[in-house]
Symmetry: C2
Subunit: 256 residues, 2 copies
DNA sequence: CCAAAAGTGTTATGTGTACACCCATGA
DNA sequence: TCATGGGTGTACACATAACACTTTTGG
């Protein structure tokens, strides 16, 4: 029988059951200057003071998990994903190692968010005279810098969470039209192609990419206009996100 | 900054933060008589008394989430997946709608388990003189019967969880060697093919299936013996699970 | 005119599919 | 010998990959 749902949670049905904190953490990815980047915030308090951490928050008692993720995103970036035409938010995975937070049992439901490059870099330090050894409160980090020596020191098990989020995003590009979530509408097929190239770190053949995308029903819809030409080259046609939720057949990466 | 990890979970950093119960629920799938089936247990207590529910349990304070899932599985089925040569266990998704349990806030981390057909049907009612209107305490339900009128009434949001688990399993057959988790070793390629056919509800071409599986390195390894012939037909070669963790290219279903 | 970027055409190569055919066993 | 299921061969359709070529813009 289901003990999980069969006993009263408030009565402490399992012996020694103590309150457990539940949080959400958001892996927010975007494309900046051709680099797949993740938003990290500098911690102010111990433990892991001055380390970098994912945007996150406690889940309120009457709040849905996804609503908490949107709230964490908004608190940190000013972005309201609700009703926002661009972007994507999905549950990633739940992290619950008993020792993942030194202060007690904290279970974190991680979300993965994909957004177009935000017009203002999110939450830049408004005070210009900031401490030279602290730097900005939140910033984008190219994911390929995360493992380098001058990369950020991540708090808790956030290295694992970020890694899982990046891998999920890279994999979903293959069989979902999610790449378009990184693009501000309207976008060109070259914009869309650069999403794949940046995420996978390998060039794609532009003619074949075009045919592939256009032959997948509902991936993109033509908007019937051309982009403004910019310094040589034929202006590209413009597109919007289509209604497809999956790619059949998938757009597979070469290597793996 | 990460509020989730930056505040003390025990001090109630978020105003009105009340204890939240965390549970695990397991979608255990197997193949019985050519039918993809899920293990459900009949609830003894309210709410949802006499409804059917997934095996589950509270997460203990110092217990890893996956360990709790294995414990729930063992309590319900007697199966110990730890060290068991067959089978597969992975996290599915976390369900946290505020109203999913009428008694309070209960967040459930769902796991997906795949096992070969268990030699004894798990947890049959040992007392033969059972109440005619109650039936067994736990039983396998073919997933295709779940939505029918004589299917089980599921408790809480377990219909959604079961649906997500079945869909995850069907999808993972395409791009992972997980189908072999349903097979007792050693197995024949026909056994493996029947897993796909049962899960997807469509026949596969046996010659092409054989070539596909054998051409994927590490999917299966030949054991160098043949199965005992059983009433006509050439005896099949025997195989064991290989070391591959993904299928490149995938084994795609026809429709979708 | 040239350079650059978008878009079209063409061909070689590989992969999936369908199905004919042979092999090994029990009855 | 037939029926049954395992296993091999093969031809066709289709998708991908590579790259030549045309179009449209700015300088």
């Amino acid at each position: 029988m289901s003990e999980a749902a069969g006993a009263s949670p408030r009565a402490g049905a399992a012996p020694g059951l103590a309150p457990t904190a539940v949080t959400v953490d958001v892996v927010l990815l975007t494309l900046r200057a051709g680099q797949l980047s993740v938003l990290l915030a500098r911690r102010a308090r111990e433990p892991f003071g001055s380390h970098w951490a994912l945007p996150g928050t406690f889940v309120r008692l009457d709040e849905d998990l996804e609503a908490a993720a949107r709230r964490a995103l908004g608190d940190e970036t000013g972005v309201t994903t609700a009703g926002h035409t661009a972007g994507h938010l999905e549950q990633l995975r739940t992290y619950g190692r008993p020792d993942r937070d030194p202060r007690g049992r904290v279970i974190s439901v991680a979300y993965l968010a994909l957004l177009p490059n935000l017009p203002p870099p999110p939450a830049p330090d408004p005070g210009a005279g900031d401490e030279p050894d602290r730097g900005p409160r939140a910033r984008w980090w190219p994911v390929q810098d995360l493992d380098s020596p001058d990369g950020p020191s991540l708090a808790f098990d956030h290295p694992e969470i970020v890694g899982d989020g990046v891998e999920r995003a890279r994999a979903k590009l293959e069989y979902s039209p999610l790449a378009a979530a990184f693009c501000e509408e309207p976008f060109t097929l070259a914009d869309l192609r650069r999403v794949y190239e940046s995420a996978w770190g390998a060039p794609l053949d532009a003619p074949n990419f075009r045919r592939k995308v256009l032959s997948t029903p509902g991936f993109v819809v033509a908007v019937g206009a051309r982009a403004a030409p910019r310094g040589g080259g034929r202006p590209a046609e413009l597109y919007r996100r289509g209604s497809a939720t999956a790619l059949h057949p998938p757009l597979l990466r070469r290597s793996v």
